[in-house]
Amino acid sequence: MDFLVAHGSSILFFLFALAAVIGALGVVTLRNPMFGAVSLLVTFLCVAVLFLLRHAEFVAIVQIFVYGGGIMVLFLFVIMLVDQHQLMESDKYGGHWWLAVLAALLLAAVFITAFLPVSFADPPVAPPAFSNVEGVARGNSEAIAWSLYRQYLLPFEIVSVFLLVAMIGAVVLGRKQ
């Protein structure tokens, strides 16, 4: 029990990390995109939990709302729009899947060589910057709002314009001729 208490967050991490990886593998391997989408949803939710573990509460909520809600619904709609029969690939993987796996392993090797020699100093508790607004503890959402609407106002506006453009683009693309 002590072990559980002492390493609670670690255990949670491993659990959800494992689930996320399994979900991801599901996305890549499942033939039916409908199942793939569900599997992707699992990954999204698990990643949201992992965000929580790193004290990024606001991002976690956004992850659930946007990914789990918005994007997922979008995918499901499209999948339903497109004829089911067509979705079943005649041949699931392309011609060079082994090459891809090889390249991925290569990349993995690179990552490992990159990570191994580095040590990261992690703070034991949540950093104060995550919740402080001008030195007063308020909460993660307030801190993000404070930062987003002041320091990053221009990028924020640009992103909103970008979204507008994407929306118009999607509408134009999806329109019947």
């Binding site: 290569l106 060589t113 990159a114």
Partner: protein, 687 residues
């Protein structure tokens, strides 16, 4: 006198009304009433202004009346030749002194009568309103020219009359020749104007002003100012006078810029009378007399002026002997008489030059109008060989023409007699050789003028039957100006009766003499005995001229005698008839040269600058890329082919890279990314 500025403005107003405001709205009558009315008004104001000036205190004090209207070109400050800085400014201003009085009167008086004559002459021509617009414009410009109180205002008129001359010579614009003649006149004049400008620049750069009174006052007070070394080994006076004289040769059709005037006869005949005989062409003489202070201080130029004048006089007179076109004869006669005036200027007889200018305006204007009347009667025919015996049909034209001919030939007691003799006397005193030239010219003048008279009015009629049927005397609107000018041609000489011993009634000399400075090279006077002798001699010479003309062209013998005479000297006749081939020579050198130059430069522009330099840099760029293309093709491709030959599977692999499959592109992306990350992270971390 306060209304001096109104004099040039009135004709401008007429031109504006006729040309822009009314146009044809009031009909022909309205047009000529406006045109003639404005000139008449200018004439009246001129007379009032002149009389006002003659009665003013300024006149008694031998001072001119100057009127500044407004500051025209405040060009800004400028370093003068002496190192100081001055604000150069040119004003729009007018000047009334004895010289401009004479010019003013001649221009407005003769101008008015020629306007009147035109009403009848142009009656049946299209473009009536356009004609009078131009003519009024001309009057305004000419008045600016003679009234300006500085070189620049004079230059305005100078260029302006050039423009009007261009327009009026090219009046019959739907034919080929007149526009060409007009353009030729304008461009030849412009060559002269270039020199005129240079003279003005020198004056401005040295004195900072162009005002006549200020300039001449300064120079008269201190002649050394203009006698120092200036440029090209000339003194300032020489430079300026030379420049102005070149300008004058352009406007007054002197050698070598005389070629435009005979061609200018393509315009309507009253225009020839007004512009190319009485007024505009005398502008050169006017400017030389106006600048007499400078000319007196520039010996060399004065001599050149005299020589050019004498040369032109005899040169044009000889050409006049052989021409058959009635207006061409008169045109060469004008050139010749202008030569006389320059001869007078050159020998320092400035008043004589102006005097001759005035009398010439009367008798040459008269003769041009007379020829206009003849051409009118002959329905446009200008060739004298087709005329003859017109005196019965055109009695008034004949009578007035005789008066004019006698006047120009120097018949005793007519206008030309006095003015020409004054010039010859002054030349005798200054330069004997030039005097001989002048005297011979006088004989030639009498000869070709009587030849003209005989060929036109005497002998049998040689035109067609239709022309004969059509012959008629001109209407009174045309004969009245003839008579008025004939009176002038006969009597205008009496204002300048030469000084004979103690009897000095030469009003003109005293009047205009006021503007002649006495600083250097002045007029020499011959003694009384010699003067009388010279007079007699010139009468004899004129008589000889008449006798020659009478012998070959007079009576009822027609042209046979004259042609036989000409056939005796075929080379001479050909050269004279073709005007010494000067036009051809200019055409072959200057005109063609300029054109060749222009075309050559254009070719240079498109071939070299644009072709070689600009497009060359393009070609260079393209060339380099082509070179690298060749390199690619033969070297790199060669290698590739080698590889292909050695291993076909290899080349297939290369081709397969471009499958169009997104997944494969993504794969390549992935591999590339892996390598990049490896490079940055692993290699970078090691360092």
């Amino acid at each position: 006198m306060r209304w001096l500025w109104l004099i040039p403005v009135l004709p401008f107003l007429g031109a504006f009304l006729n040309g822009v405001v009314l146009r044809d709205r009031l009909g022909k009558k309205g047009v000529w009433m406006v045109a003639c009315g404005s000139v008449l008004a200018a004439l009246l104001v001129s007379v009032l202004a002149i009389s006002g000036y003659l009665g003013s205190e300024q006149y008694s004090a031998h001072e001119p009346f100057e009127q500044s209207v407004y500051e025209w070109i405040p060009a800004g400050s400028m370093g003068l030749d002496d190192g100081s800085f001055a604000d150069v400014s040119v004003e729009m201003g007018f000047l009334l002194d004895p010289l401009s009085c004479v010019m003013l009167f001649v221009v407005t008086f003769v101008g008015f009568w020629i306007h009147w004559f035109s009403v009848g002459y142009m009656d049946h021509e299209p473009g009536f309103q356009r004609y009078f617009t131009y003519l009024n414009l001309f009057m305004g410009m000419m008045l600016m020219l003679v009234l300006g109180n500085n070189y620049l205002v004079t230059f305005v008129g100078w260029e302006g009359v050039g423009l009007c001359s261009y327009l009026l010579i090219g009046f019959y614009f739907d034919e080929e020749f007149p526009p060409y003649a007009g353009r030729k006149a304008f461009i030849v004049n412009r060559v002269g104007d270039l020199a005129f400008l240079a003279g003005m620049f020198a004056l401005v750069a040295h004195f900072g002003t162009l005002n006549y009174e200020k300039l001449f006052g300064t120079i008269e007070a201190e002649p050394a100012l203009v006698q120092g070394d200036y440029v090209l080994g000339m003194t300032l006076a020489t430079f300026v006078t030379l420049a102005l004289f070149i300008g004058a040769t352009g406007k007054s059709a002197q050698i070598p810029l005389h070629v435009w005037l005979p061609d200018a006869m393509a315009g309507p005949t009253p225009v020839s009378a007004l512009i190319h005989a009485a007024t505009m062409v005398t502008a050169g003489v006017y400017i030389v007399v106006r600048s007499n202070v400078l000319y007196q201080l520039a010996h060399g130029t004065s001599e050149l002026v005299a020589i050019i004048g004498a040369l032109t006089a005899i040169f044009a007179a000889t050409i006049g002997l052989a021409q058959t076109d009635i207006k061409k004869v008169l045109a060469y006669s004008t050139v010749s008489q202008l030569g006389y005036m320059f001869l007078a200027c050159g020998v320092g007889a400035y008043t004589a030059a102006i005097f001759h200018l005035m009398t010439h305006a009367f008798f040459k204007g008269l003769m041009f109008l007379g020829s206009g009347s003849v051409i009118h009667a002959m329905s446009g025919e200008q060739d004298m060989r087709k005329m003859g015996g017109l005196k019965e049909h055109l009695p008034w034209t004949y009578r007035t023409f005789v008066a004019g001919t006698l006047a120009i030939a120097g018949a005793p007691l007519l206008a030309g007699f006095f003015s020409k003799d004054q010039i010859l006397a002054a030349t005798w005193a200054d330069h004997k050789l030039l005097w001989v030239v002048g005297l011979v010219t006088a004989g030639l003048t009498a000869c070709y003028m009587f030849r003209l008279l005989f060929m036109t009015f005497h002998g049998p009629f040689r035109g067609s039957e239709e022309q004969h049927h059509h012959l008629h005397e001109s209407p009174p609107s045309m004969t009245i100006p003839l008579i008025v000018l004939a009176v002038g041609a006969v009597f205008s000489g009496y204002v300048g009766i030469p000084k004979l011993g103690s009897i000095d009634i030469n009003v003109f000399d005293h009047f205009v003499g006021q503007v002649v400075a006495h600083v250097g090279h002045g007029e020499h006077h011959a003694s009384l005995g010699i003067e009388l002798f010279l007079m007699a001699l010139s009468v004899v010479v004129a008589f000889a001229g008449w006798w020659l003309a009478r012998k070959y062209y007079g009576g009822d013998r027609g042209l046979a005698e004259g042609e036989r005479w000409a056939a005796k000297f075929p080379t001479v006749h050909r050269w004279l008839f073709n005007k010494y081939y000067v036009d051809e020579a200019y055409d072959a050198t200057a005109v063609r040269g300029t054109w060749a130059c222009a075309r050559g430069l254009f070719r240079f522009d498109s071939k070299f600058i644009d072709g070689v330099l600009v497009n060359g840099s393009r070609h260079l760029t393209v060339g380099i890329s082509l070179l690298s293309g060749f390199f690619d093709k033969y070297f790199v491709d060669g290698l590739v082919n080698l590889v292909g030959v050695v291993s076909q599977s290899g080349s297939r692999f290369f081709r397969r890279l471009q499958t169009g499959l997104v997944s494969q592109y993504a794969l390549v992306l992935l591999i590339g990314m892996a390598m990049l990350v490896w490079f940055y992270v692993v290699v970078g971390l090691r360092r």
